[in-house]
Amino acid sequence: MKIRDLEALNSVRQQGLTKYKPARPRIAVGLGTCGIGNGAEDVYQAFTSAVHTLGADVQIDRVGCFGFCAEEPLVNIAIPGKPLVILNRVKPQEAERILTEVLAGTVDQARALCKIQSWDHLTGVVDFGEGFPDIPEWNAIDFYKGQKKIVLRNCGLIDPEDIEEYIAVGGYKALLRTLRNAEPERVIEELKTARLRGRGGAGFLVATKWESMRNAPEGQKYIICNADEGDPGAYMNRNEIESDPHNLIEGMIIGAYVMGASEGIVYVRAEYPLAVHRLEKAIAQAQAYGLLGEDILGSGFSFHLSLVEGAGAFVCGEETAMIASLEGRAGRPRPRPPYPSEQGLWGDPTDINNVETWYNVPVIVNNGGRWFAQTGTERSPGTKVFSLVGKIKNTGLVEVPLGTPLKTFVYDIGGGTGNGKAVKALQTGGPSGGCVPVDMFGTPVDYEALAQLGSIMGSGGMVVMDEDNCMVDVARYFVEFTHSESCGKCAPCRVGLDHCLRILNSVSEGRATEADRDALEQLGPMIRDNSLCGLGQSAPNPVLTTLRYFRHEFEDHIQEGNCAAGVCEELFLTPCENSCPLHMNIPRFIQLYKEDRLEDAFESVIMDNPLPASTGRVCQHPCDDRCRRAGIDDAVNMREIHRFIADSVYGTEMEESVLKRLLERKMPPSGKKVAVVGAGPTGLASSFYLALLGHEVTVYDENSEPGGMLRFALPEYRLPKAVVATEVDFIRRLGVEFVCNIRIGVDKTPQSLSKEFDSVFLALGTWEASPIDLPGVQCTGVYHALHFLDEVAHGKDLRVGQRVVVIGGGNAAVDSARTVARLGADVTVVYRRQRDDMPAIPEEVDEAAEEGVKFMFLAAPHRVISDGQGRVTAIEVQRTTLGEFGVTGRRRPVPTDEILRITCDSVILAIGERVDTVFTGGSSLDLNRDGTVKVDRYSAETNLHGVYAGGDLVTGASNVSNAMSHGKHVAEMIDERLMGENRFAALFGSYTYSDELPDEPVAGGRNSTPLLPPEERRKSFEEVMLGFSPDQVSHEAHRCLRCDVKDECRVGAAAE
């Protein structure tokens, strides 16, 4: 049946509406490629057979995709008179139950993702009905909030294989109007008003392109739709064609009419079989209805549309290469000018637009350019579809107004990484784009703003990267891609990218030098400026942006051979070893333990980590986050294993035997004297190694006993003083002298020490409380957390009273609160964000709650109230709400007007610590503004010759294992300087142990150490974590997958 006029179109429309909004229930399964990949085809079959079994009068349909990939398969339920309900993650076995409910006129409201009461297809509104109050409206859920569906207006709602449903929602109306009015110039005027820009990435004004085509001499002209979507991680065009193919056809017919073209070609990737299938079907239907072919809609205008499948070359997305490919030649670009609008396919004027550009045409014709320009920004109006993928919770297709800031994509819509890891960067524009770092997530997405950052908008791929992504590897990956997709015509791209790839491979394998990095920086702009086509011109973007924004990662790889993200396999032993600040050889001590070689295991542990029993209790265990066992069940509890090993050895004959071994290994006296200031974890770690290296080490500390934070800040119930004492004693017996009660800056200065000693290592902690602007802070009964913990550790009897409020959310806050609980008081922790945002170790927070510590979230201190004698009587806190996301993905606490008063006797402030700068003793030591010491990033030397600094003094308040890693590193640096050669590696012994692995990993989940019961905990300062039993440690050791045992098979960069 050929449609020839409005009446006929309207009658098809009515016909279509009976299918789109039938009088009986309709169940439509989202069957895009993504849905099918998630089992939607099985769901569809299940519904079909359920209808058959139940003999139900229900229409089962296939629709495209509604965009929320993470929640596939999606199923639309439309019960007449009720809202359209979208169910997510539907399983085939649920079909019968859902169908039964639908027959009863309802759906399981708790199970639904969202509902649509009324949908504006922009070419027509469809009202489904009202009801289901418990289901949120579609744009009320995070993923769709902030989205605006213009291009995707029909996707996931209509049956893409039925032209009548497209017509039902107002399709082909714009075409009819254009042909009827016979005013092609008006379409161009509307496009001009709309300021629609090409959606393929370059952002050229569509009206300008169309106008020059229209003005080209009459004769054969072609229009082409570029559907050769090839960016890794981008699939907008595929989904658009799969879900709404007629929209593309309508846009192209209008374009053909305006430009005077009689032939059109859709160039689709052959890798998109479903899109090809649906488009072919749509073209056939359009022909049957008189919308394509001769005399379209009775207007006399003829247009033929065909489909060509691309053979898979990325470069064929470049328009001149695409034309070459269409002409049957190899897909290689040629220089422009002449532009395709002058000389295109077969030498005739040709217009090429991206899929999404065509999709915007019917709706602009229908609703006007002015309407379109209301969305988006002044220079980039309209919306853009992005595929949001990578390390993100809510993956999917996202259509938002241009100008939306990047953080909205990542946090509001995407929901962050969803695994607690921090987002590091966002890659836009695929291999032609760049990596935007987190601190620039405030940037609005439009053509110009992204170009300024060195990236491009491209066709719309957005890949989120977190701390587990190595930026060197990311750059390497994209260059590997463009390198293999380069056509080879021009020398800069062909040979230049080959050199880039070789250099990046060498960086990721730790073989590169700084000269190599400089060569990369030279090659990048040269390739960009001199390549023939867009592929080469943009191929260096991933390298140049990572070099610009993540330079330190390149430095780490080149100078330290370190890949912090744990990606570049050549640079580390295992992911756990790589994530450990001390780089402990974890699989080794686990294997030695398994082989019953406790002494060897202990020696291995203590040589890597001089305080194994202390860190075994209090380390933040970053190893857990990288353990590959987590892919099976849970991470191996490595921290508890080395604690067990240490606890089993200390105080036994084995301790003496290992001490003897180390003393035998100790290098002969060097005659060099080293002063270490601060006997905390940093100083202890450095003195351990410096002593073994044969130097005469003196450690100064202002306290009465060595141990620093371990001894005086960490409460007894977490880390018993006796454990610290044992470990300090072990180090003392290696030949380290501890001099206590000496305050640097007062009793001695860095200068006086550097006269007395060959090297000085400043390893002080951050004991000074950060300043706070809080009225009443000077009242009696207000404590700073570290001072409070310090006084308790010194055994002072602090009269904190009956009710105590702790302000803060870090470890110091939780330690203070749990200590107060043990002193018998009622304690409340007040934190301005939410529980999940607390920087404290989560287990510690759980344990605190078990011990009766109360938490008040979303509240910030307002003022401290005191009585006539200046004693604290209460604290006023101000309620906060969580506002907008900051660029790092945490919502900003915003104060409200609500003030609460909490009656209390004491207030403990745990809001951060800083360096007390007294230690400089008036020396010319270079400090940062926050009081931390400036050091060379790799040698750790300060501006004073022979004076080094490390630990919290350099980084600001951190944690035990980070601090110790500084101490270990500085010991190596000092020795290298004093002795003129690097002797560090010679300290470490080697062990022979089995590399045999069982065929199947040992079963069983992670063991946790038993805890003291909460009721007993409150009564005393007894240690809470009791440590593994021998059975537990043995099972835990066997859970290790031994990632250090590697096959010869090499992949990725190393495969070359």
């Binding site: 220089p335 390198h483 997709e485 080879g488 040979v495 060569a519």
Partner: protein, 237 residues
Amino acid sequence: MPNQVKLKIDGEYVEAKAGESVLDAARAAGKFIPSLCHVKGLTPVGACRLCMVEVAGIPRPMPACTTTVQDGMVISTVSEKLTRYRQMIMQLLLSERNHVCAVCVSNGSCELQDMASKLGVTHSEFPYRYPRLPVDASHPRFVLDHNRCILCTRCVRVCAEVEGANTWNIMSRGVTSMLAADLNGNWGDSETCTMCGKCVEACPTGALAVKGKAVEEMTKNTDAVSRLATARGGTQQ
């Protein structure tokens, strides 16, 4: 004259024919612009990227061979940046395959060698790739040494545009691109090759040579190819 345009090259006013390339106009005005893929009369392809010049108002350098003169155009053929870029591209070409002059038939009369020396490039700072590529000696008169090829496609164009035989083309892509006779058979088995030898004369290096020539013995007559191509009308753009 309507067919004449005026432009400024390196500060000098130059008249040129409308439709002419910047390269031709500049060379006619006595300017030196390096190039390797260009042969006057053959379709310019802009492949070697040595002829890049700066055009006022355009942020990136433009290839002189494929850029058409326009009235009022302001061009610089020399700048610190252009020199650096050209030297780098020359080094890329030298590092790509095996350009060991001492054992090459074209030593002493090689355009690649000449151009390197004009650009002051004596060696490549990028590591030499030294791929092991075959030598096709199947042809009765000529020999193709892929190791010397710089993929300028002069042979491809002269064969297609002047001889009309279409024997040559480039196969594969990226850094693995290779010159191929017919459907990648032996040159000697080619059914299309007329043995005219124009490709050999057009080749700027020792990649295509007359069989039997020893080191330094191969000289090319590219000018003759150019005259032939121009005489048959050449390609306008």
